[in-house]
Symmetry: C2
Subunit: 626 residues, 2 copies
Amino acid sequence: MDSVQGRASCVAPTASARVRLRPLDPTAVRILGGLLGERQRINREVTLLRGAEELERAGTLENLRIAAGRSEGTRRGMVFSDSDVYKWLEALAWETAREPDGELERLASETTELVASAQQPDGYLNSYWHHDGREPWSDLEMGHELYCAGHLIQAGIAAGRTGSPRLLDVARGFADLLVDAFGSEADRRTDGHPEVEVALVELYRETADRRYLELADKLVGRRGFGFFAEGRFDLPYYQDVEPVRESRSIVGHAVRALYLAAGVTDLYAETGDRTLLTAMLSQWDDLVSTKAYLTGGIGSRHYDESIGDPYELPPDRAYCETCAAIASIMWNWRLLLVTGESRFADLLERTLYNGFLAGLSIDGRSFFYANPLQTRSGHTRHAWNPVACCPPNIMRLLASLHHYLATTSDGGVQLHQYATSTIRALVPAAGTVDLAVDTGYPWSGSVTVEVVACGDAEWTLSLRVPEWARGAVVDGRPVAPGYAELKRRWRPGDRIVLELDVSPRLTAPNPRIDAVRGCLAVERGPVVYCFEVADLPEGANLADVGLQSEAKPVDSGPLAALGGFPGVSVAGVVRDLGRWGDIEYVDVRELPRDGAAAPLPLLAVPYFAWANRGGTGMRVWVPGSG
Amino acid sequence: MDSVQGRASCVAPTASARVRLRPLDPTAVRILGGLLGERQRINREVTLLRGAEELERAGTLENLRIAAGRSEGTRRGMVFSDSDVYKWLEALAWETAREPDGELERLASETTELVASAQQPDGYLNSYWHHDGREPWSDLEMGHELYCAGHLIQAGIAAGRTGSPRLLDVARGFADLLVDAFGSEADRRTDGHPEVEVALVELYRETADRRYLELADKLVGRRGFGFFAEGRFDLPYYQDVEPVRESRSIVGHAVRALYLAAGVTDLYAETGDRTLLTAMLSQWDDLVSTKAYLTGGIGSRHYDESIGDPYELPPDRAYCETCAAIASIMWNWRLLLVTGESRFADLLERTLYNGFLAGLSIDGRSFFYANPLQTRSGHTRHAWNPVACCPPNIMRLLASLHHYLATTSDGGVQLHQYATSTIRALVPAAGTVDLAVDTGYPWSGSVTVEVVACGDAEWTLSLRVPEWARGAVVDGRPVAPGYAELKRRWRPGDRIVLELDVSPRLTAPNPRIDAVRGCLAVERGPVVYCFEVADLPEGANLADVGLQSEAKPVDSGPLAALGGFPGVSVAGVVRDLGRWGDIEYVDVRELPRDGAAAPLPLLAVPYFAWANRGGTGMRVWVPGSG
């Protein structure tokens, strides 16, 4: 029954997989509103359609027509631009399964036929490598062929699981070619950009064809032996610095690291090779203790898009690519399924509401690639990007957000993310359970769960109490962060209320994080806040603003200009640095004395909603003023 | 007489140039020892010869042979690699003029013939654009053709001024082609990488051919109208964001900005166009108040090698390319000549002893390209680099260091940098003046200047009192930073002693520099110090070290492992962050309390000498501990 249950989800472990929790069938989960529901609606009504326009405008669809021989012309765009189409097709599959839509289905169907027509008879498919007689597999370092194949496979699986097998057939044709091309034991090759691994494991799950699982295992096992030693970047960039099973820290290009980690975690789930899980848990510990931003964003360096050293977390030059946030959500979801531990759902939530949602404007029309936590000179969203990996990646995650709300185990149902929703779960011990969740989360911390239908047997309803929650209460009983487990013989009509305190709070960083030492940030429930120049009084300089650690931030009511999201008021100061003048550095014996700091009431807004009123200065971390 | 005096110097303003100070003839200036003398010796005996080996090993010389038709094969290396040869030839010219050397002269002569043989009949010369039938001027954005031409011209001028006209003829042949190719009024083109401008002004000075000056003026005037709007990088990167004459801030790629600034300053000197000087002085103010590192290093971002926003000065991700330090020294020297103001000699000194000297290992055998002020995971010098712009740039500056010591004006001699040296200057009002300088500078602050010979007329000896000097004394008289001017009728045998207090001191940054807020650095005279892991007791973590603002740093005697340079002892602490454990961020209401900080005597070493004992952790800025 388990394997049936989650079959239509983006991640569907086999019946024998080493998982503690299992995804639900997302066709029986529905987000009915609130912040996440609104984001899904905008994605459906605006962003996915913009995707079609922009993929056309950028030549990305035309590239496939040229490859198919349907059009003359010169290929345009990045070497990996086909993957933009695949991610968008994946999004269309999840979205039209969520709710049918003639236009979106037509786009999916036409584009699927276009993709199929560009496939070569042997299964090969890549418009860049088709073009000008380029030799396939001749640039595994930067060519992104297996990366693109991975996204094709994921899109094919999404289409297949939502009732359209055509793209899955195409993907399988390419996957079979990959098995032939890369499957020999003697082969030492792998791809510079991981992504195909997670796709191949899922294709195994979808088809029960072990060759895909075995290829994923081989590709993972070949890393760490210096195949990319002559590359333009260093070995960590290619996830080639040490064997995956021996790795204990997470390094290199953030998206490459995180897609690989998702695949390796899936590989553990299906093979039971615990050396893989040990490596992944170690990498995760390394990440959350020294390399993750407060927003869940990952990637501290622009130059090589890498994670950087421990505690190297500059807010201004944070890279925090939107794709890295998505990859982190993918990885944390898989770790949650494998372990059942709330810390993975916690990081998933932090990333979802901050590092991820910041990547899309409120109106769903423009995007961020990098998501810094501070900007002095501005940082504006763009309608698309020559490197367009992020926009369709955002679309596919938004279209599948409801996959991530809840899971089942043998004995119950677990709610991980809270949104007003209806949820149907098959609990092995208790049959079909229907739940109705009602909440204003994340703005309100009150979550009501009603059991609408269930069988007679005892089962456990587990509610995640986030790591940031203090004084949480379920049904009048105090509960600590983790899962509040309510085991009982439930009856239709039973209601449980979880009360989380989402009142604003101040957060401090580890003193070893040099770049924000002595600073404070405002958080409210799972949402990180920030300060924008747009909210300062005329003439005030964001560089001179300070926050008092004893300040008590409070809700300031809905922000009309920002989607009605609640603002936070906090007492700040503006320092008088006038005596510094043009002095950049000074002998401590001649330190200019600051003038008296003037009180300044400050307004903080949700970080994910920043840069929706122009790209002026912003900061999440503000110096403490004593 | 003026124009004769500095004729053999790297910068030689014409007789009519708007300069307050004039360079000396460097053949009559000699650094006899000390830190700078030792660096010149190592350059001569080690680094220049390594240059020959590495230019051969990298294929850079072979590229010219291929271009000359003397060799078969495929061109290797960067598009601009010819400029590595030119900078090295410039270094050989200055060095062999300083002191003849058969081997270095043979290398210069042979390589000059090689360069000449690669020149096309029309004067064109570039091994990259020769190759494979590439079309000249077809990629002004990144092709570096005029950049390479600029370095050829500078090398030719150096050769010409030191008695070897062959390379100057070659350079002039190319310059004439540039005049033809880019000189029309209607032409809107310029080069993505400034450098040719400073070379063309100097070529005008050398040849009195105004066409070169006019071309420099045109190339400068064409910037700022979006010629590079379709480029891979933004307009500031190409110094194309606004007309130079209107610019007030310094932005974009650091080396491009600074080479351009040097050329624009020279252009002002020869044309008297004050809009150029106004722009340069404004850019300089912007630089020193918000964009320069304590080391004089410039360039805050790796990704596009750019200067970054005001106060964006991360110590760990500082780019501070060695070439940017050299370009800054070039610019400051020109501003000093134009204005006579000590602040430019001050920044030149700060850059020379820190941001520049750090680029070369003590043994003269390995190089830094980027010069960060902090590293957590290490940063090792390399024997050469695929992008080899810095090593030969270091060589040409070291070979010409004595050009930068002193100047003359109508009424006297000015000493700007202090080294044990002999200096001959022609003072218009007083004839030939011979000086002998004796000092242990920068380690000692005592500088003795003896007048060895001079005429009978009154003249002024000006001694720079650096901006960092407090309580300086000349001849028993207190003097403030700036120039101490001693006007008198000097007699041979007169001695003057300048006493500068070089005792170690603590320095604080402007509070707007987010990345080092609350930190302190150690300086000693013009030398910035740093802390290396190699000097910490076993088990101490550099991340947890703090400095007390009331600590009194003191000399700790010569560092045997680091060239005998003096170390500095300062009382520090090591913080006990044990209770933080793996916590990355925390609610302020649950802040872990630090354990008691333990006293820790710290040793600081000269920043320029870091990473000579392996590439372990280092930091210049250390958190203040109260």
